[in-house]
């Protein structure tokens, strides 16, 4: 009896310590962003002034625009490819099925820095580095496993007869895809869009190699700024990045949760 109480207590303490280590730095960062004087902790007062200064930094506004554009393009293109790949892989049953699946999953296992360096070398040799499309392509490459895996997982539990039923009432395969398959895949497509957006929005490793001076992303701009000065303004910027990510991840949770409930019901 005492033993189990001790075990439970240790377990809770361990969990608490885990979250403290994980979240404390973020909490400090958020606290600092409201601090009227320089980067010190604990805060000496409360102000939203640093958030106002973001608007006075055109570099950051441009970076926020670049990151958003990049994130949206990556999410749409990557999820689009992912859905097609997953549907294709479900229908195709030839000898290349395994290798193609592994290839699409490979970015999960290969360090992003290696992928980025390799892409950098190739694109540099081809002389097509300085545009947003190479950056989008690179982000798509490193995030493609997520939509493929999401959609494939949903297709696993998918009755083939749902599509066949559509064909039997006169739908062409394209109409069956549009009216039955894709609407049902919404439960994995929406989370995929959000996850790929967040991954792209937060990505530093790939962007640092491939971003051109016209397309500096927010994480890059923050890092560059920190090299020279250290002001609560950076903390304010970072807090906004954190909030954006959290909001989107809560959205993912909601959509995935709803999808799972619908399947059970």
């Amino acid at each position: 009896m005492h033993k189990t109480i001790l075990g439970t207590t240790l377990w809770y303490l361990g969990t608490l310590a885990f979250y403290v280590f994980l979240l404390a730095p973020l909490a400090i960062l958020v606290a600092v962003s409201f601090n009227p004087v320089a980067m010190v902790f604990p805060p000496q007062g409360f102000t939203l002034a640093w958030y106002g200064t973001i608007l006075e930094k055109p570099d950051f506004l441009h970076a926020a625009f670049a990151s958003t554009l990049l994130g949206v393009m990556t999410a749409v293109i990557c999820t689009g490819f992912g859905v097609l790949a997953a549907i294709g892989l479900r229908r195709y049953d030839g000898p290349l099925k395994g290798p193609i699946t592994s290839l699409l999953m490979a970015p999960l296992f290969i360090p992003a820095v290696i992928v980025a360096l390799a892409l950098f070398q190739i694109l540099f040799m081809m002389g097509i580095l300085n545009n947003i499309w190479t950056l989008v392509a690179a982000h798509v490459v490193v995030t493609i496993p997520y939509p493929v895996r999401n959609v494939m997982a949903q297709l696993e539990g998918f009755e083939g007869s749902l599509e066949e039923a559509a064909l039997s009432v006169g739908a062409t395969p394209r109409q069956a895809l549009l009216r039955v398959t894709l609407p049902l895949l919404k439960a994995s497509i929406i989370p995929s869009l959000i996850i790929t957006f967040v991954l792209s929005w937060n990505n530093y490793t790939v962007s640092v190699f491939l971003a051109s001076k016209d397309w500096v992303t927010l994480p890059l701009q923050l890092r560059a700024y920190l090299q020279y000065e250290y002001q609560p303004f950076v903390a304010a910027m970072s807090t906004m990045l954190i909030i954006a990510s959290v909001v989107l991840l809560v959205l993912v949770d909601r959509t995935v949760g709803l999808g799972a409930m619908r399947k059970r019901g």
Binding site: S161, E164, A165, L167, V169, G170, T172, G265
Partner: protein, 355 residues
């Protein structure tokens, strides 16, 4: 208009012959069951008729049209699946209306026809529900409505009742049969349940490892099976060998133990060996009496099982056990009693010449 003809259909998967030269005609308005164990090719045959599977060779005609090369969506068929295959994101109404929407019919005509179809399956009040809010039987009725709303040339059903529990299944059998007769729809019904096939069908096709074992009316399939396989598959059969004896009018089969059983069958030749069978309800049991039962097969009751309307008697005859189904109103019999078996056995036509 709604007849189907299957001409020399084969289907080969690698080294496996799923279907071997199937020829079959389904008549206009007929309810035809395809019966067989899993893996016999019955679902494959249905999927080939539907166009979901391409045959390796052969032709399919539906309503007089060669549809062998037509894809599913051009075949004008109604299809009902074992798992219902309702679209979970659409209401009952939209599940049924999808086919009409694809045909670009006018809104009010779609509405009229969908409600008419739902009325036929008594689901009109549930039109705005989602499939997940319906019971299994209701889902199956939606699937039926979805198939018949298009006024298809033929209705194809792939084990549509096997996902339902027993009572519901019996209700649905009656409903399905009534609906089919009302609409006069040519129907092909795939099942592994012999009672279902016998009770619903105008004719039954018994399939055996990719080939047709027998096609006939249910009564003939049950009482005059063409082979041992069919005899065993459509009901319980006790098979035994003997030599045909007796005169042409009253043929008998003499068994190895010297007793004889009256038999019926075609092309019986005196002196030839033959295989015959009896079903549990064909045999009458009487307390054995040396004088009146001379020459009749004799057994001992091993066990008695009471089922309400009937009882099953397990009778040991020459080291084998035979099940006899009997109403409880005859003479009282209990385990250990000596009994005479009074019956007429059926000689399996296929075995007469082979013997």
């Amino acid at each position: 208009m709604g007849q189907i003809s299957v001409r020399d259909i084969t289907k080969v998967w690698g080294a496996f012959d799923a279907l071997k030269h199937i020829d079959l005609d389904v008549r206009e308005g007929e309810f035809l069951s395809i019966l067989g164990p899993s893996g016999c090719g019955k679902s494959t045959l249905l999927r080939i008729i539907a166009g979901l599977e391409a045959p390796t060779s052969g032709q399919i005609h539906i309503a007089g049209r060669d549809v062998t090369r037509d894809p599913v969506w051009k075949r004008r068929i109604g299809l009902v699946f074992q798992n219902f295959a309702l679209w979970p994101h659409l209401t009952v109404f939209r599940n049924v209306s999808m086919g009409l929407e694809l045909r670009r019919l006018k809104k009010d005509e779609i509405r009229r026809r969908v409600l008419e179809a739902l009325r036929m399956v008594q689901l009109e009040p549930l039109a705005e529900r989602l499939p997940s809010q319906l019971s299994g039987g209701q889902q199956q009725r939606v699937a039926l409505a979805r198939a018949i709303v298009l006024k298809p040339d033929v209705l194809l059903l792939d084990e549509p009742l096997s996902a339902l529990d027993k009572n519901l299944r019996q209700d649905m059998q009656v409903e399905l049969k009534t609906l089919q007769q009302t609409l006069g729809l040519t129907t092909v019904f795939v099942t592994h349940d012999q009672e279902e096939a016998l009770s619903l069908s105008d004719r039954v096709v018994v399939m055996d490892r990719g080939a047709i074992g027998q096609v006939d009316v249910p009564e003939a399939i049950y009482n005059r099976p063409a082979s041992e396989y069919v005899a065993r598959f459509v009901g319980e059969a006790f098979l035994f060998r003997g030599i045909v004896s007796g005169s042409g009018a009253r043929p008998m089969l003499r068994l190895p133990d010297g007793t004889s059983v009256p038999v019926e069958g075609e092309r019986l030749q005196t002196g030839r060996e033959a295989v015959a069978f009896v079903r549990p309800e064909w045999v009458e049991l009487e307390p054995y009496d040396v004088h009146s039962h001379t020459g009749a097969p004799r057994g001992v009751i091993d066990r008695l099982m009471f089922f309400g309307q009937t009882s099953d008697y397990l009778v040991r005859v020459a080291d084998r056990q035979l099940r006899v189904k009997r109403r409880p109103d005859g003479p009282a019999l209990s385990p250990g009693n000596d009994v005479a078996l009074i019956c007429k056995a059926r000689v399996l036509a296929a075995q007469v010449d082979a013997a």
